[in-house]
Symmetry: C2
Amino acid sequence: QFREDAKSVKSYRLYHRPVCRWIMYMFIWVHLALALFEYPAIYGLDVEYWITMAIETVCLIAYICRFLHHKRFDVHENLWNNKRYLIVCILVALTWLDMVIYVIWYQFGFFGNHKAIRWSRPLRPVFLAAFGRHLRKAFENIKRSLPETLNVLAVFIFVVFMFSILAFKMFSASNLTYPDGSGYFVDFIDSMWDLYVLVTTANFPDVMMPAYDTNSLYAIFFISYIFICLYIFASIVLAVIYNNYKQNLKNDVKKSVLNKRKRLMKAFDILKVWRERESRYIVNRARWHKLMKIVAPNRSELQRDLLLHVLDETGEMCLGRSEFLKVADILNIELSEIKDRSLLLERYCFSCYFSKPSKLVQKIIRHPYSRNAIGVIIILNSLVMVIEDKIPVISDALEWTFLVIFLVEIILKFYVFGCRRFFSRFWNIFDFIVVNAALVTRLTNVILQAVGDTEDSRKALEFVLILRILRLMKVMEGIERFRVVIITVMNIGPSILTYGGIMFIFYYFFAIIGMELFEGKVSYNITDPSQQFCGNPLLNGSDFYALRYCKNNFNDILHAMVMMFELTVVNQWHVITAGYVQVTSKAARLYFLAFHMINVIMILNIFVAFVLEAFILEYSLSNRELMSSIERKIEELG
Amino acid sequence: QFREDAKSVKSYRLYHRPVCRWIMYMFIWVHLALALFEYPAIYGLDVEYWITMAIETVCLIAYICRFLHHKRFDVHENLWNNKRYLIVCILVALTWLDMVIYVIWYQFGFFGNHKAIRWSRPLRPVFLAAFGRHLRKAFENIKRSLPETLNVLAVFIFVVFMFSILAFKMFSASNLTYPDGSGYFVDFIDSMWDLYVLVTTANFPDVMMPAYDTNSLYAIFFISYIFICLYIFASIVLAVIYNNYKQNLKNDVKKSVLNKRKRLMKAFDILKVWRERESRYIVNRARWHKLMKIVAPNRSELQRDLLLHVLDETGEMCLGRSEFLKVADILNIELSEIKDRSLLLERYCFSCYFSKPSKLVQKIIRHPYSRNAIGVIIILNSLVMVIEDKIPVISDALEWTFLVIFLVEIILKFYVFGCRRFFSRFWNIFDFIVVNAALVTRLTNVILQAVGDTEDSRKALEFVLILRILRLMKVMEGIERFRVVIITVMNIGPSILTYGGIMFIFYYFFAIIGMELFEGKVSYNITDPSQQFCGNPLLNGSDFYALRYCKNNFNDILHAMVMMFELTVVNQWHVITAGYVQVTSKAARLYFLAFHMINVIMILNIFVAFVLEAFILEYSLSNRELMSSIERKIEELG
């Protein structure tokens, strides 16, 4: 879909250069980060509104530039055919409109004393989705699963509605109360709310207890409700989303493979020359090198020839059509040149390095048992960390002992493997950093304690604590049966980022809306006694205050983000909701309900579906052996 | 694996007769139900211990009889080769040993004042698994997924351990407290417990708040912990179990198909006769009928011939080897004979039934719109039920109106479709029952109110309430896009029973153990004021009492079972655990921990994996068209 003249191609290559993309992302993140400085800002970071607006304008101009850049090689004359750019344009226009309205509103106070609202802010993360390729795909995925999920959700809501009528009719006339004296299913809307919360399990078994106390048989009602709505329906929502996800994944892979083939065919047609001898079209060596210089500029002359050699099946250093189609696969393979080199010690101190005691040391260090021994010592060390407060007399001595052991281990490994091989393994680098950091902090600690500054010394130690504990992972990784699990988790890590991005988009959206709605309603201030009930007397006697949830507020973007996470975890979300209902009105429930439906039922299930499929794929790959024709050829070559 | 002489075959057929199996199940359920009557019994159901022991002995003898019966046709001479029966024998022996010990213990008081314990009771549900085929398969499924799941679980526990050290080192010296004044991460074991509970989300965000209040950055610790341990690891446990489940399912199906083929081959070899004309072995018509008389005694002569006709590809009313192999599939197909019959009205009142107004009525009733109209009325009716307390003046009149409308609908349907066709549809039968029940209760209600008994009249109305609300399902089922969801849920219902059985086995096991451990520690008695703190002063000031969880106790099997369900739902399980820790010791946590690991992490995930796979299968089946060779043949025959 792109123009193919020289100028457009040049433009295209510039557009897709990583540095251009990173600059774009920088603008997007700066744009998103403005929420830190705008009202309500992080304490101490608030700036005048025209500063953030100026920065925002720069970001918007950057988006438009990017967009105009894309237009130069886009084959569509009419911009509006590309939906994505249409959305970006509308958003930019809306944002500027919002700014103008805000300035008028703020400066001239047209609407009385009402706080001016920047209503375009929740839409900011849409730019992230519009410019990020992976995110866009994930969004399309969501869009395609939506209709079926909504069907299941509709049936689910209907079932909740049926049970609500039942509960309302059964309990509203019974005059039961909760332990705090509030009514039990007295209002139909409240009944529906309580039963919806029950699906998230957040108010179980509390919501059952009053009825269960009067008659044990009422437990059947609640148990069957939870069984149907939680265990059956939740699993089915997951099943629908997972099924769609798998289907979409299959289609995507099929489509992208087809696309790749088509483009490679086109590329071949451009590059091909006629070879008389075999009477077929080929790509010869000269053209191959030219191509590689553009496509893979980091590879050496030698590597390029090697790649050609691997691809070429006839052995004539040229590629036919079918061989050329494999070019994309082979470029994904990492090549590294290994040079045999001896250790410095070996060269300069040969007799000493190969003496009997030295050889014994080498044998010991290379033996698997020595690794196990170090593993045991690391575990012992962590156990000592747990109990060291109870044995203050020897704890310091023990810590030094462990440190010395680890130091000796590292020095011996240096000696045996040499500097280069030592640093070629991840865990060795990690050990090196941890042990040295521990040594440095412990020494500074001694100095600080000599000066008498115990508070700073404690903090200095805490700093390396996390690293030292992470060493336990090394022990776990050393055990074969656990390694598969850990490696799988590590491997799916990067792809999780995409779904983390989607979560972030919705978090940001809801956080900004939450800030507009609930900012200042609840506040946390430990020093000011007038703020007893989270700064709001309406919270007197509420669970929200009793549990000291004052810091769960929307007073700046970071607090709001933590809040979003708490709502995702779901536990106690009804208490938080009840708190905000108390300081505003029952309509506040709609906000929390929307958050739960979108972020927990939809997005979280998509996340789980993704982890499910990724793990199953990784697991089956690690257990099975994959051998493509290319890999076989590489093996043949040695 | 069975003997093939005539006597053994007869014995085998008796063994597998449904009535024999049902008697067996009856004994097992009686055996399990003994927990209702044994100490600690349901209030008012307690009987002398020798009565329950006598019944139990009868059950055990029944198991042995069943076992000896099986031995008569089992080819294994040595009983101990059959692992299942070895387990049954050991269990029976253990149970009798337990009884003897109990009698001695109880009668002579050998062990001082300690309560006598029937320690074999938790093992009772094992009989259910030993004699039920589906349950046994599900158990084997669990056993095969166990090793890999344990690997993931080990890594998970290890990560929890690492985070616990970190939390302990960070917070134990900080002197923070919870809102109720208790210490914050002061003890390492408590820290591990708190973080384990955090994985179940039950104590979030409470466990975070004290640290979060001192420094917002501590939120990062908790968020990353929950992200790794809850979202990643929980998904991975599900992935491992789901993957194993799918793999096992595939293997099972493969094995059973192979098995079926092998046995059908054997059957063919026994039944075959040599046909000269075609020079091949066949099963002729006479033998077919003889076979069918044994295998499918309920089918008529005509149906048997039809089946033969469908199977037979040559059209000579005899089956070759390959045709005979399909016999098992065709026996699964339900055949029903449809007879064309006219309505009584049509026959006896022809001119009247086909008059113009009558035809108009028929057209209206048959029209889809009339079904939609009834749907709307049903929804209106349920809405009126919600608000009728607020409009007492007209609510009675409205209810009568609705009742009359529904009655008229049913009578008209009778008129149009006739009695037989009316009752052939599930929803019609359902409507008939609901409307008539509503009519009867409403009439009795009027009578009761005339007598002045308003309490009973309310209860009589409540009785039909559930049925009336269930009619809403009919409306939902009428909408095409929701029907797939509902039908799928209905279809996987029966297979859910198997996994429900597994849950029951573990529930029973843990419930009995819980009763032995915690019986009488907590009690619920609303009338006795001396029992203020759930009958245990140790609970003074605890959350357990503040939330009025007194009825969450182990004082009889039914309460214990409800408790098991509450622990499965997980929410607030730490409060329940804390309550029992307060009345016993910290060791009580082990019981609740074991329950969570086995029932929630293992069994519940297996259940979810099952629903996932069943739903995906059902869904893809309902969207795709299946056409086996047999179905095609049936279609050809018309």
